[in-house]
């Protein structure tokens, strides 16, 4: 399948439209939910950390530090990807699956179009912008933590900001974006595979979406483990 995706290319004029449409649906269309979740989960991480800092000897700037580490290392790249497996992955599987059951893919094949390239390649390109979503998630996660911490009275603004800057290792950002790059490819290909090769009717489209979500999540979690093991240990 992967070979065929990068095989006979669709006319650029058509492909460009498909890519822009997929960017709109998969990337821009996900910004709302990602922003909402990131902001509030960042806030909760910050509150939870503050509530667990019972020892008066521990500095308050640890709240900012813990929030930054949690959001940048795991929450934004990994857990947002799991959420995206549900949102974007289900959309990809069901849209391609519906095209399969309504014979639209057969219609494309009869016309002599490389359906793998036509259907899947634009999604891979669109999701190559997925790190931008994670970037927004990182910012809003930390910002949500800041708001919850400062306006919840757990620490001062300067303490939180000091915590964010504490022991900052730039490679952690690189690590997060390397993970995100792999996840974006997984998010585009596994749901596409489940949609493209499904058989049956409407019920099977639903089943394929569920199976695709499960497998995408499993692969993301396993990849997360492997990449972390390779890059951070």
């Amino acid at each position: 399948m992967i070979k065929s995706i990068f095989g006979k290319f669709t006319k650029w004029k058509i492909l460009k439209q498909l890519i822009l449409k997929d960017i709109d649906t998969l990337i821009i269309g996900s910004m709302g939910i990602v922003s909402f979740i990131s902001f509030f989960v960042g806030g909760v991480v910050s509150i939870q950390t503050a509530l667990n800092l019972e020892n008066p000897l521990l500095p308050k700037n640890l709240i900012g530090f813990a929030t930054r580490q949690s959001v940048i290392l795991e929450f934004a790249p990994t857990f947002i990807s799991i959420i995206m497996a549900g949102k974007v992955g289900s959309y990809i599987t069901s849209s391609i699956g519906t095209m399969r059951v309504t014979e639209q893919i057969d219609a494309l094949e009869v016309m002599g179009i490389n359906t793998y390239n036509y259907l899947i390649f634009p999604k891979i390109v669109a999701l190559s912008l997925y790190p931008l979503v994670i970037c927004v998630s990182m910012f809003l996660g930390v910002f949500g933590g800041y708001m919850a911490c400062v306006y919840g009275g757990f620490s001062s603004s300067s303490e939180f900001i000091e915590g964010i800057q504490l022991d900052f290792i730039p490679f952690h950002i690189t690590y997060a974006f390397i993970k995100t790059g792999f996840f974006s490819f997984v998010l585009a290909t596994i749901p596409s595979y489940h949609g493209y090769f499904m058989t049956g009717g409407a019920l099977e489209v639903g089943k394929a979406s569920t199976v695709s979500f499960v497998w995408t999540s499993v692969v993301i979690i396993l990849l997360n483990y492997l990449i972390t093991q390779m890059l951070l240990t």
Binding site: K11, A107, V110, M111
Partner: protein
């Protein structure tokens, strides 16, 4: 012209098409009939090379599908038009865009030229005021017309239709049948239609192939189907009382004409 030589196709060890040979003539509406599960759709998909036959040959104007290069196959596909059972229109495109799509993909013409050609075809299939409508906003009959328009927009050499009038009321079904027959003659296309609609058989069956359990059981024209002794065909075609009556009347008229001919001689 399409020549089919002894094609066999099986799935999971079960033979669905068991060695069918036939010829589909140019400029004619060729019908494949048979009960549900007789292998009609699989046979049609083999012709379209959506399924690859296990053995046998399919020759397009004498050239074997298997011997064609990738480029030749690609060209051949552009010469094929297909009307799917459920129309298979692209949901994300309106009627005009659906029809323009093959031309946008495979020609270097500018958008205005493509739009002109699409509108010409839209007129040909009698679609009125539907250009900007989406597939879910139009009726089943209109969807079939759009599918036919999309199939013929590239001036194909071959037109394949899978149950083109299924789910349509009898009047619309006849209109669609007639439209396909007119287009076949007008563009001199080799048309192959899968159907189990007996009205279609009687109306447009210039050549009919009857499939039973994956085998070609009978072959002939709509006139010959009245006189056939093949029990499988008669059981299938004349399963309704109406068509039994039609056959009786047809055969009675024929014998009356023969008797009159003998008497006058």
């Amino acid at each position: 012209m399409i020549e089919v030589q002894n094609i066999i196709k099986s799935f999971d060890g079960t033979e669905i098409i068991k060695g069918v040979s036939t010829v589909f003539d140019k400029g004619k509406t060729n019908l494949i009939i048979g009960q549900s599960g007789s292998g009609k759709t699989v046979f049609l998909k083999c012709l379209l090379s959506l399924f690859i036959a296990d053995s046998g040959k399919i020759l397009f104007e004498g050239k074997g599908l298997k011997k064609m290069s990738i480029k030749e196959r690609s060209i051949l596909r552009q010469e094929m038009g297909m009307v799917f059972q459920g129309s298979a229109l692209f949901d994300s495109m309106n009627v005009e865009e659906n029809i323009m799509f093959p031309m946008q993909m495979f020609t270097q013409k500018d958008d205005d030229e493509i739009r002109d050609r699409a509108n010409l075809v839209i007129k040909r299939v009698n679609l009125i005021n539907a250009n900007s409508k989406y597939p879910d906003e139009i009726s089943g009959g209109m969807k079939k017309r759009v599918a036919i328009a999309r199939a013929i927009v590239m001036n194909p050499k071959y037109l394949f239709c899978d149950e083109p009038n299924s789910g349509l009321d009898p009047k619309t079904a006849i209109l669609i049948d007639n439209l396909i027959q007119e287009i076949t003659a007008e563009y001199n296309i080799t048309t192959v239609i899968n159907t189990h609609d007996m009205n279609s058989v009687m109306e447009i069956g210039e050549k009919i192939i009857f499939l039973k359990d994956g085998l070609k059981s009978w072959e002939g024209t709509k006139e010959e189907i009245f006189n056939t002794e093949n029990e499988a065909v008669t059981n299938f075609v004349y399963s309704s009382d109406l068509f039994k009556k039609v056959r009786e009347v047809y055969l009675k008229d024929e014998s009356d004409e023969e008797q009159m001919g003998t008497t006058s001689a």
